[in-house]
Structures are given as C-alpha cells and as structure tokens.
C-alpha cells in the first residue's frame, strides 16, 4: 500500500522511502548518512533507520531513509527505491520494491530480473571504484560512494549539499572529502550519460527543516547529562547503549572544564561489569555526586540487586536503559520497549520505580539533565527508558534547549544546616520524614559536623539509620518510602494530551512510537474519518492525568513495542476499576512500529 500521489507530470515529489541493502563493515554507514544529511540540507523532512545485524563485518544490513514533505517520519514497510549492494540479499531486496518503484544494483551482481513492474538501474560500481584512484584497501568503501552519486543524479540530490554532508562527516578534512566527492561526482556523471530516468521519484528543495537539527538520542542523552552537571559515570559496554558514554567522553573536554581551575569536572569509569558499574554509580550518588550509568536489558538484570539497595537505602542515581530486543541476549541490534515491567518492579521484595520515557533525541536531552533533579529530589534511582531506535538513529528534532531551571540538589544538610537545625531544636534522622512528603534529609561524606554521619545499609533500619529487625519499624519505613513515590507522581513530567473532537476511543503510548502514532492518527482521520485522543506517557509512576484520561474514554488502545503489552499491565494495576477499558496493541519484532500496522490493528479490533 503506498500513499504516494503522483503529480500531473507523473512524478512523486518528496514522498518516498529509500532502502540500501549492503554488507556491514564496508563503510556504507558514511554513504547512508551522507544521503540523509544532504536531503535534510535540501530542506526536506527526512529520517534514517538502521536495521543492522549483531556482527562486525560480513552480514547483511539495511538502511532505510524516509522522505516525507509533510513530516511523517516513522518507519514504513514500503520501499519505493531499493539500492542493492549485497549479492546475498539482492533477491529479497528486489522483492521489496513497490510496483512502479526502482531498483539500483551493483552490476557485478548477476541478477535475473524477475519483475517487469519496476525500473532497474545497473551501476558499474567496481569499475567506477577502480577509476577513482582510491587505494585498493579503500575500494569497498569507495564503492558505496558510487550509489550516492548515481542516486543523487537520478532523484536530484544537490551536489553542494552532499559536499556539506561530507564536510560535516569528515570534520572539514580535505583529503577524504575530496576523495569521496570525486567518486560521487564521477558516478553522477556516469548516470547522467548512461541511465534514463523511468521511475517517478524525485526530490525538490523545500524549506521545512529550518530550525531543526539532526541528532541521535544517545548523543542527546550524553549532552543532556553533561548539562545536568553529571559528575560520575560508570558503565560497561553494551549495544545499543555504548555510544552514549563514548559520545560523552568526546564532549567532556569541550563542555566540562571547570571555569575556575580549567580542570575536569566529570569522572568516567569503564567498569569490569554492570554489577560494578551500578555499584560505583550508587557509591558516588550516595556521596553526593550526580551519578549515572547507562546500559541495556542484560545490564539492567545484573544491576538489579544494586537497584534494590539504592531503593531501600535511598540513594539517587540516574540509569539510562537503551532498550534492545529481549529477553536474554535477544536481538542486540534491534529495538524494543521490553524492559518496562522489569524496571517497574526491579529487584526483590516490594519496590517502586521511577521511569521517564523520552520520545526522541530532543526529549532525551531534556530528560538527560532533568533526571538528576528528580533523582536527587526523590533520593531514588531514576530510569530513563530509551531504546535503540531513539538512541542510535538520527532524529530530525528542534534544537536542544538550555535547562530552564537551576539544578535541584534535593534535601542535603551541610554543617551549617545541622547547626541551624540544632538551634531550632529540630531533630535530624537520616530516614525521618520531616516535611510529610516521604522524602527525608540526607547528609553526605565530608560533612564535618560530629552528628552528620550515619550508617547506610540494605538491612532493616529505623528512622535514625540504626539497625532494626522490629516488624513495626520495617513496615513503617517501607510505607514512608512508598509515600515518596506518591510525591514523585506529582513532580515528574506530565503526560502530553492531544485531543480531538468526537473521538470514539483513546490511544496511550510512550517513547519512540510517537511518530508512528501521530501518523496513524492522521490516516485514521483522513482516510477513515476517525478522530482520536492521544495521551503520551512521559513518566511512571503515573500522574493523575492518566487516570482522568482513562476515565474519559470507554476504550483505550495502549500501543507499545513488546509482546505482552507491558505498559498496559502497569496501567491496569494503576486503574484496576477500569482495567477492561485498556486494550493492548503490542508488537515486539525488533523493528520500530509503522503507522499502517498501528492503524490496521486498531481497525481490526474496532471491527471485532
């Protein structure tokens, strides 16, 4: 099913998808990003998604670029243009092309053309790569630039925009820019001479990307944390979270030199495993540093004993969970929202959990800094539930905005505060709820006041942090902690509501599914005349607005990327009295949801 509407001249302008099938480890990522960025620079809304294997070299990988003049940038299942560079997948790549679409293929792939409903363009990739004069070891890499050039010629990507993209990628270094540009220009020239345009897909410059940037969510998260004043990061490499801390390392010298001494103000430790990573971060959080770790599902599992300690000992820490296909090692290079219930109920015993759900790279930046304020205010672990799609793909988003609130360091008492309390006859106990919001006051190491110290433990303790096995004390302390999470509901980011006149049902979703939801709602309205209300969750525990939304709708579809409808489960626990209103629209196949799938699934359910 294609939504494309040819113009009177028979062309389809700025509304199609390009999929490149290559072998991973050949450097095709540079080519794909170059196409993506050049189109963005032409002012056309564009998004790229990498569907790649968990492997370093030699396996098939696909990169899909969606171009859409109206700004619908979720994943689609239709491919108008397919570029086949991988002999192993060329057959399936050919089958992918929509009727009327185009297949570009490397001409050394001997291809029995089995379809007469598409246009096929052979590309003399090897020949042009050889002619480029690039050293032999760079040939494979340069070969990928050939398709950039051919495509540019055939769909109309501006050469100066391609140069700008290369200039960005190679940080202005002349020689790689010129080498790549040379190949691209030669390939475009060859295409001009030798290929006749028969498919309808073309690009025309627009003005729709002004005021936007392109960024991946892991970079955004790293920057957000740096603006949040993060001081201590401990991590252990895991796809798709690794690039978060790796990017942070790149920006620390630029952003985190102490204005007073010129020295560093962030410590990053690569730990020996996730047990240690979480332990170090929790140690640092306990000591009064803004501390974080970043991981994915398998790491969360290993860290969960420590999260239970942080929960009960009330230690602030920020945890980024860049979710990937799970359970187990799962689909390491695919996306999912599969850790929701695991994190909600993390660790043994009665626990609670705070989760934030960023929508895209821009919100990843915002939650990147805000998460520390919540963690320190609430003296608790705060989990930012990103996913591979947000973390590793390039998102066209509004520029990052400087934090509009000062850091909230929470309830910390230093020497003079304790003296003041003593003067006022106020009693301080580490776990004493003085303000009635469930949040006690804490002191941290280095406080020289003789009464500042306390002993932190994961075993039973009373309001004064003394060891206790008293059943009443145990229940009282856990009840008080629960109260803290009630407070959390009121200060965490509110859900975002979009309502429409006469909506017969509501949709609840969160995180990276947002673009697909919005697009599905658009089709439901335009094609079926169904208006929908939409509530985008941004935090857990849920705010009152979530209950109100459910109360306002007889029927709510909860859309998410996992098998069991994990968020729906949490919502049903939140509103047991209205649990039967919540219908699960869930799929966890490792790929971002598409608008068509969401719409069709909802329509099928509506018919039932």
């Amino acid at each position: 099913m294609s939504t494309q509407s040819p113009t009177s001249s028979g062309t389809v302008v700025n509304d199609f998808s390009i999929t490149v099938g290559t072998v991973n480890g050949t450097g095709s990522q540079t080519s794909n990003l170059t196409i993506l960025r050049a189109i963005f620079k032409m002012g056309i809304p564009v998004q790229g998604k990498n569907i790649f294997p968990s492997n370093i070299q030699g396996l098939p990988t696909w990169y899909t670029i969606r171009i859409n003049k109206d700004g619908w940038l979720a994943r689609r299942e239709e491919h108008e243009i397919v570029i086949a560079m991988n002999p192993a997948t060329v057959k399936e790549d050919m089958e992918k092309v929509v009727p009327g679409g185009a297949l570009f293929y490397a001409d050394h792939i001997k291809l029995p053309i089995e379809r007469d409903d598409i246009t096929t363009y052979p590309m003399p990739v090897k020949k042009l790569a050889r002619q480029s004069g690039a050293p032999a070891k760079l040939r494979d890499y340069v070969a990928n630039m050939v398709y950039v050039g051919v495509l540019a010629q055939m769909i109309g990507i501006d050469m100066d925009k391609i140069r700008a993209a290369l200039d960005f990628h190679f940080k202005g270094k002349e020689s790689p820019i010129n080498l790549n540009m040379g190949v691209i220009e030669a390939a475009a020239e060859w295409a001009k001479e030798n290929l006749e345009k028969k498919d309808p897909y073309i690009l025309e410059p627009m003005d729709a990307t002004k005021g936007y940037i392109m960024a991946d969510g892991n970079t955004a998260a790293a920057l957000g944390a740096l603006y949040g004043g993060v001081q201590f990061v401990a991590w252990y490499p895991i796809t798709p979270a690794s690039s978060l801390v790796e990017t942070m390392n790149q920006y620390i010298p630029k952003l985190r030199k102490d204005p007073k001494t010129g020295k560093n103000t962030v410590v990053v430790v690569q730990a020996e495993d996730e047990l240690a990573a979480s332990g170090m971060a929790i140690g640092a959080g306990w000591a009064g540093l803004r501390a974080m770790t970043s991981t994915s599902g398998a790491g969360i599992s290993l860290m969960s004993e420590f999260f239970g300690l942080a929960y009960y000992a009330e230690v602030p820490i920020v945890v980024w969970d860049v979710q990937r296909g799970s359970p187990s090692t799962g689909l390491p290079t695919r996306t999912m929202q599969g850790d929701i219930t695991q994190v909600a109920f993390i660790s043994q015993g009665d626990t609670d959990s705070i989760m934030l759900f960023p929508r895209d790279a821009q919100e990843a930046f915002e939650f990147g800094w805000r998460a520390f304020d919540y963690a320190e205010r609430l003296q608790a672990p705060v989990f930012v539930m990103s996913d591979l799609d947000i973390g590793q793909n390039q998102w066209m988003v509004k520029p990052f905005e400087y934090p509009d609130e000062p850091m909230d360091r929470g309830k910390i008492l230093w020497e003079e505060d304790l003296e003041q309390w003593e003067k006022e006859g106020k009693v301080w106990g580490r776990y004493l709820d003085v303000d009635g919001d469930g949040i006690p006051y804490r002191t941290v190491i280095g406080n020289k006041h003789p009464k500042a110290a306390y002993f932190t433990r994961g075993t039973g303790h009373d309001e004064f942090a003394r060891y206790s096995e008293d059943p009443e004390v145990w229940v009282r302390v856990l009840k008080r902690i629960k109260k803290k999470y009630e407070t959390a509901r009121h200060i965490l980011p509110k859900p975002v509501l979009e309502s429409a006149e006469g909506a017969p049902f509501g949709i609840i979703s969160f995180g990276s599914t947002h673009p697909a939801i919005q697009e599905a709602r658009h089709y439901l309205k335009e094609e079926k005349g169904i208006a929908t209300d939409y509530l985008r969750l941004r935090a857990y525990p849920f705010a009152d607005e979530v209950r109100d939304f459910i109360a306002d709708h007889e029927k709510i579809y909860v859309v998410e990327m996992n098998r069991d409808g994990q968020m729906r489960q949490l919502l049903q626990l939140f509103v047991p009295d209205m649990a039967d209103r919540l219908i699960s629209v869930a799929k966890g196949d490792g790929l971002p949801l598409t608008a068509r799938w969401i719409m069709n699934t909802i329509l099928e359910m509506e018919e039932e």
Binding site: A215, M280, G283, W286, L309, P450, Y454, F455, T456
Partner: protein, 342 residues
C-alpha cells in the same frame, strides 16, 4: 580523665555500636586495632569513610568509628561502592571491611579490579577460611582437607588472597594475624597513608565454625606457626626517623610513602625487600611449603598513580561541594553544541 589524642578526642570518640559478633571472634580484635590506629593517627573520625560487603566481617564497620560515615553494601560489592563514593571527597580515607567469601568468592572480580585501578582504600579481608554469617560453609580460602560439621571434607586447594593481589599488580600487599594486634595496627596505619589500594589479608579466626587447632585459620595454629617477615614501625613523618646506635647494612629498610610518612622495617631472620615482587611471590610459596603463617608487609610500590590521579580533578573544593556554576556549562555553549549537530 581519659587520654586524649593530638586533636583532643578520646578513644570513646572513635567507638561504634557494641559488637554483636561472637565473643572471641577475630573480627572484634581487628575492629579494636582500626579504632586505635585512627585514634593514634589523630584523624578526626569524620575524615574516615567505612565500607563493607556482607558477612560477619562486613558487619564490623557498625562496631567502630560511629562518627564516620559508613556504607554496608552488597555481598562481594564493597570495592565498587567505595570506588564511586570516595570520589565524592578525595581528601577522605576509605576503610573497606570484607571477608574471605566476600572477596575471594562472590567478589573476586571486584577485588581484583579495584586493585587494577589502584583506588586508594584500606582493603581489609578478615580471613577466617569459612563463611561465618551463613553458619559454617566452606569458603575459597578454606584449607584443603578441612572437615566442617555439616559440609564434609573440602577437596579444593585454597585461594591465597595475597597471591591474588600480587597477580593483579597490587601496590600494597600485607598479611597479618588477628592474634598479633600490634602488627595489625601498624599495617593499618601504613595502609591509611598509602596512595592506592592496600590489601590486608588478616587471618581472623571464626571461633564458632573454624577454630579447630589444625585449621590454618585458628588461633592456636596461628600462634604456633606465625613467622614475621620484619619488625615494623610506622612513622607519620619520615623526618623523625632516627636509628638507634650502629646498624649493620640490611638491618633496617625504610619505605617512604607519597605523603612523606614512612614504614621502617627491621630485619628479623633475613633481609627482605618489600619492593621486590619476585621476593614476595617466593616468600608466599615458601610459606605454603613450610606450612607457616608468614606475616608482614609483603609488597609495596608507593609511587604508582592512583585512580583519581588519572582524572585531573579540581582540588580546591571537595567534588561533592562543587557548585552549579562549575558543573553546568554556560548558556552560550548551547548554540555551539546545536551547531555541532547536523
């Protein structure tokens, strides 16, 4: 009137909650020596931070230094907690209490990796060759052939904590015996001044589960078989060193620590150079073969960079007191960052 130290505190200021460990437990005597060492070094209790894992040994921090912050964490995970926490204020001294199960079984990874990073910490393994808190199971340091009530006979060779530390390139490795309090105290003092991870493997008998005379972790065996490498003295200020009378060459060795304090080692049987890794490994092998409890400072390397040295952090204010202006990049950087995106 109770004796005060140079900063006007009495020993009572260094005490903790009354111990709930068994009477006669070796861990209790280690606790007393930690208290005395900090008292005698004239350190305010607030300048020490206590860490531990889980076990009887790891309960120890509750029973000492009540005016010091402490964190009794998870089984086998003391090193990671301490690593993160001490960055909060690098002027503080960390003392970590662990057990043989805590460090050589569940926590072997963290034990080795804190050593690899050389994070400054007085890392005490109260080694009783058994799991005390869970009531008498074999630990990785239990003797081969050890018979325990409900466990039968241990078929495995024990792990040697000091050897593991050396293999991980530790910069301070010592073995001692809870039945030799003076040596324990001296080693703790030296360890507090060492810039790096200081491993103290202290044989600390468990009177409830592993104190039979033939067990190498018992009081009786220790008393009978302890051989000291050297007579040890710790001098907070190296300039004070004054040698009495004429000394033979090799009679006394002196190791200066990075802060100007010194360990003075007086020869007992033979000359022993604690800066020689080969000598340390040989000494451990020989002790094993000769079936003795060899105690003392086995190895020291005072000048290897410690973990915090690698970060070039500001030193004018503790990290956990650093204000927002020094942590959050200024507003004008935001545009630059956005320009760096595409």
């Amino acid at each position: 009137m109770a004796k005060t130290n140079a900063i006007g505190l009495t020993i009572a200021d260094y005490k903790g909650a009354p111990t709930t460990l068994c009477q006669g437990c070796g861990h209790n005597s280690i606790i007393s020596q930690i208290i005395s060492a900090v008292f005698e070094e004239n350190l305010p209790p607030e300048s020490v931070v206590k860490f531990s894992g889980i076990g009887c040994s790891s309960k120890a921090p509750t029973y000492m230094l009540g005016r010091s912050f402490g964190f009794n964490g998870l089984h086998g995970r003391m090193p990671s907690l301490a690593t993160g926490a001490l960055f909060g204020d690098l002027s503080l001294i960390g003392i970590g209490m662990s057990g043989d199960g805590d460090s050589a079984a569940i926590g072997m990874g963290q034990f080795k990796h804190i050593i690899r990073r050389n994070m400054p910490l007085v890392y005490i393994v109260a080694n009783n060759g058994v799991y005390g808190l869970t009531k008498g199971q074999f630990s990785p340091t239990s003797d081969r052939g050890l018979k325990l009530k409900k466990q039968g006979v241990n078929p495995f060779e024990p792990v040697d904590i000091c050897m593991e530390a050396l293999a991980s390139n530790a910069t301070f490795v010592a073995r001692s015996f809870a039945g030799d309090p003076k040596q324990v105290k001296t080693l703790i003092k030296a360890a507090m001044h060492h810039r790096g991870t200081a491993i103290l493997d202290i044989i600390s008998p468990c009177v409830s589960f592993n104190n039979q005379p033939n067990a190498t972790h018992s009081y009786e065996w220790g008393k009978k078989h302890e051989v000291i490498l050297h007579d040890m003295q710790f001098l907070p200020n190296a300039k004070e060193i004054m040698l009495e009378g004429e000394m033979e060459p090799g009679e006394v060795r002196e190791v200066t620590l990075h802060d100007g304090s010194a360990i003075v080692l007086k020869r007992v049987d033979r000359d022993y150079d604690p800066t020689d890794r080969f000598a340390a490994i040989r000494a451990l092998e020989e002790a094993k073969q000769k079936h003795i409890l060899l105690t003392g400072l086995l190895y020291i390397e005072p000048d290897r960079p410690a973990l915090p040295d690698l970060y070039d952090l500001p030193t004018d204010v503790p990290f956990n007191r650093m204000p927002q202006e020094r942590l959050r990049p200024s507003p004008d950087t935001m545009q630059t960052v956005n320009d760096l995106m595409f």
